[in-house]
Symmetry: C2
Subunit: 345 residues, 2 copies
DNA sequence: GTTAGCACTCATTTCAAGCGAGTGCTAATG
DNA sequence: CATTAGCACTCGCTTGAAATGAGTGCTAAC
């Protein structure tokens, strides 16, 4: 399967040309624009071989060649091996630092900036909340029978839950419960909280056992029932700008997949598993999603406290700018993790 | 300018037909499909009059007629006068009740459901936060020098701000400050908080004045600097399904207007002013946004504690289903206000 | 092994003809 | 006198044939 150097160069030329033009590329184009020192006829022979090997295909008899998935794969793999030319961080990442207050806003901003930077569609999943460690809990009495539960976890993710109680309760009492909750739950993940743990907590308060028992119960069930991670997207309409998606209906189907939860969750989940390399690239059929047969997806994951908790993905046409996108993702990942891990438990 | 009954019926027929087909409608079509008992020739004469009066236009000489903005306006205005046929609440609104916990989620859901229900694009603005009344404040020490400020306002809007202090501070101390803050700020709007008010607060604490002074100062500036209302959108890609927007570039420009903040803020702001009627309809040029010349926008506003605080808008093609959309918006508004005003200050 | 030359393919562009939906006008009609 | 049948006319759209041209594969010569 090893290609000789000339075939390699021709393949690279074909893909390079196709990436920028989106038009099938012919032998004459290559001969003219790429200084390979061989005639169109020779290139034609080589192209015939490359086609037989499955790296390129002809859309129809009298057209030039376009890369097959296998061709893209070869191209991408050889890119990875090459040293990167400009490793200085992208400027766009800096804008993120300003918005680092609420993690949801940060992640939304990541999606938005990355989409703007790359001109592709982006997906960013929020951390798997239930497996992040609790740093702080606070109960706030809002109205007579309504209590706000504030939970701060690793990476400074803040969640609020409004709970309704059967009877009113004083803030001083809530403060005492808050104290006990923090004593017992600090450093645990939400998954690790269980009923025995909660029951056990009662004995450490000498206050009205019945009320506290009820409050703890409600808190426990509320926390347990929260929906886990979410997925933010941005730039989906960028899809429409590429000639390969000028069939609006196909494009809309694709956008649907990206914006609806079911299948994008699948994409994100897989992004978090396929992680031998830091950055993962899937091309066309490799994505295994019917509507995305003409796309490539580049993913990476981010960590909080050493745990892989979320993913960032860029979705573009197969002829996307892999180089630039991979670079942008790398920069982003490093910087986001820096922000998220400033204060880990 | 008063039209006789026959002209009215013909105009209504033309608009009605055009709403469903998006094709210019000719005299024969009307004669056949609408039981007016007159021949195409007569209808042609009437149409000629209607065109002269500016209610309909011909895209080109040998085509049927389509409604002008003036025609739509007449149609919409006469719709309003008509009694609604089915006033029972739309079912889709019920789904909202489930998601009423966080107001941001509620509003996002409104945008999403309304878009799904109507198949148009929707805009929902969040409440003008700064003019809603404070119900509760709470300071939570998260790390040594970081404090989380939780603010709950009218309509149970919850906002979190992480602030950084110069020196560490105990939770017990924070609780005392929290108490004083609530004492003094309950029922005020964020706009009403000013520096003298904050300064004045010191005297009610006998604790370390310098630390408290600093904390209050940071809180004040954080609260003052928060960005006010946001705008959620949904269903923007629905735009692409309408034949009037099959010029992708025009459609993309329109989507940009809806999704980018600058102009949609303008739309929402105006929606909150134009409110003689509960529901406001703007057609084509009336919108005064160049990219929306082919659209209509139907808006309504919602109130918390008697104050108009946010807007809901539906954007569709001029030939949108005004009847259904207005109905959906009305139902939505009533129910949303019910949810938001359950517990007002 | 390389390349010039040539016949061949086929998507795309171009252009004219024809179609048909629709109009406006005129003259006949009840 | 309002209504309508009839007809010539307009013009966007469809159709299909021809021309175009980018590109190939093959063969024979270098």
């Amino acid at each position: 399967m090893e290609l000789n150097e000339r075939k390699m160069k021709i393949l690279q030329a074909i893909i390079g040309d196709y990436l920028s033009t989106a038009e099938p590329v012919g032998s004459r184009t290559i001969s003219k624009n790429y200084d390979l020192g061989i005639s169109p006829a020779t290139i034609r022979n080589e192209m015939s071989d490359l086609e037989e090997l499955g790296f390129i295909v002809q859309p129809h008899t009298s057209a030039g060649r376009i890369p097959s998935d296998k061709g893209y794969r070869y191209y991408v793999d050889s890119l990875v091996k090459l040293p990167r030319e400009d490793e200085q961080p992208d400027q766009f990442v800096n804008k993120l630092l300003a918005s680092a207050d609420r993690i949801e806003d940060l992640l939304k901003n990541i999606a938005k900036l990355l989409a703007k930077e790359t001109n592709y569609a982006t997906l960013v999943s929020t951390p798997k909340y239930k497996s992040s460690k609790i740093k702080n809990l606070q109960l706030v009495g809002v109205e007579d029978k309504r209590v706000l539960v504030v939970v701060v976890t690793d990476g400074n993710i803040i969640k609020n839950y409004m709970i309704d109680l059967d009877e009113g309760i004083e803030q001083t009492m809530l403060n005492r419960i808050t104290y006990v909750l923090n004593e017992h739950l600090y450093g645990l993940t939400l998954e690790e909280i269980n009923l025995p743990l909660i029951k056990n907590m009662h004995q450490y308060t000498d206050d009205n056992q019945i009320v506290i028992s009820k409050v703890l119960d409600v808190i426990f069930h509320t926390i347990k029932s929260i929906d886990d991670s979410d997925v933010y997207f941005s730039g989906t309409t960028n899809i429409l700008k590429f000639p390969e998606f000028n069939d609006i209906n196909k494009a809309l189907e694709l956008i649907d997949v990206i914006e609806k939860g079911d299948k994008n969750q699948f994409l994100v989940d897989r992004a978090m598993n396929d992680d031998e390399h830091n950055i993962n690239i899937k091309i066309g059929e490799e994505i295994e999603v019917e509507e995305m047969i003409d796309c490539s997806i580049i993913t990476t994951s981010y960590h909080i406290g050493g745990k892989k908790v979320g993913a960032i993905a860029v979705i573009g046409p197969k002829r996307m700018d892999y180089n630039k996108t991979v670079h942008a993702l790398k920069c982003l990942q490093t910087n986001v993790e820096k922000i998220l891990n400033r204060n880990s438990v």
